[in-house]
Symmetry: C2
DNA sequence: CTAATGTCTCTAGTGACTAGAGGTTCAAGA
DNA sequence: TCTTGAACCTCTAGTCACTAGAGACATTAG
């Protein structure tokens, strides 16, 4: 049995985060020692690894909850899991596209300023004031 | 003079957000009508446009506060503004790089699932459980 | 003058944690 | 066995950038 500190170390998830996950039902309530401290088994470590990995991939905790529910009913169709993954992928692609447009503009803006002038004629500030300079429109 | 609703309409920033910006000092306190309603002039519209544009570019409100402070002291060097813009650009670039790694993996994961099977042998769930399948490592 | 719409303040909620206070339990060494 | 110090407990509150809602007051068009 692992203490919460050991679980944290092995999973790479911080102690308060583990308690938070329990609080919101992402992890089931841990068993307790005689002195009321949480005790975990390897299956908890596995679930935490699952959660961590999904979080790194940008899944929301709500989405992760759905995935966990699916895991616990292995007889159900996995169509929902596939749909979640595809939706997540689409979101990531959209985010990339948006960020790339921002990058273009930020590059333009930050190249216009050599840091030598005074704020009154600063290209950065002017650019931020005037959306019209933007080549691409960002929403 | 504009009411808060008119300012909202013209700027595209929601009414509660405008009040929030005033509360945290991003906008200075508005003048008031005889009946205590906020009244704005065109200069407020300009500042709000500035804030909105900077937000769209991913600047934090804290960063925007610095930029505004700079605007109000046009005699100061604009080096700080340039540095903020470059830091912001770097952040955007980092985010893009990270998201691109995620996209690769999410594509792999979601292609592995045709939605026909049951959860027990679902590739999506397996992939999320096992980080080892990842080709690239994401942090 | 009335009715509808707009605005006011205030509180509380969102997501995913993080920080801190003040108290208890555990494990290792003497 | 006792002691010490680290780890653990619960609870509250804070983060960021808003958003939602209640209940009361102001403005404006007809």
């Amino acid at each position: 049995m692992l203490s919460i500190g050991m679980l944290s170390q092995r999973s790479g998830v911080k102690v308060p985060t583990i308690r938070y996950y329990e609080e919101i039902g992402i992890l089931k309530e841990a068993e307790r020692s005689a002195g009321n401290q949480r005790r975990y088994r390897d299956s908890d470590l596995e679930r935490l690894a699952f959660v961590k990995h999904a979080r790194q991939l940008g899944f929301s905790l709500a989405g992760i909850s759905s995935l966990i529910a699916l895991q616990e009913h292995p007889d159900r169709s996995c169509a929902a899991a596939g749909a979640l993954a595809r939706a997540q992928r689409q979101e990531v692609q959209d985010k990339i596209a948006r960020l790339q447009r921002l990058e273009v503009e930020l590059t333009r803006i930050s190249q216009g300023c050599d840091g030598q002038g005074v704020a009154a004629e600063c290209y950065v500030l002017a650019s931020l004031s005037d959306h019209a300079n933007c080549e691409a429109d960002h929403e």
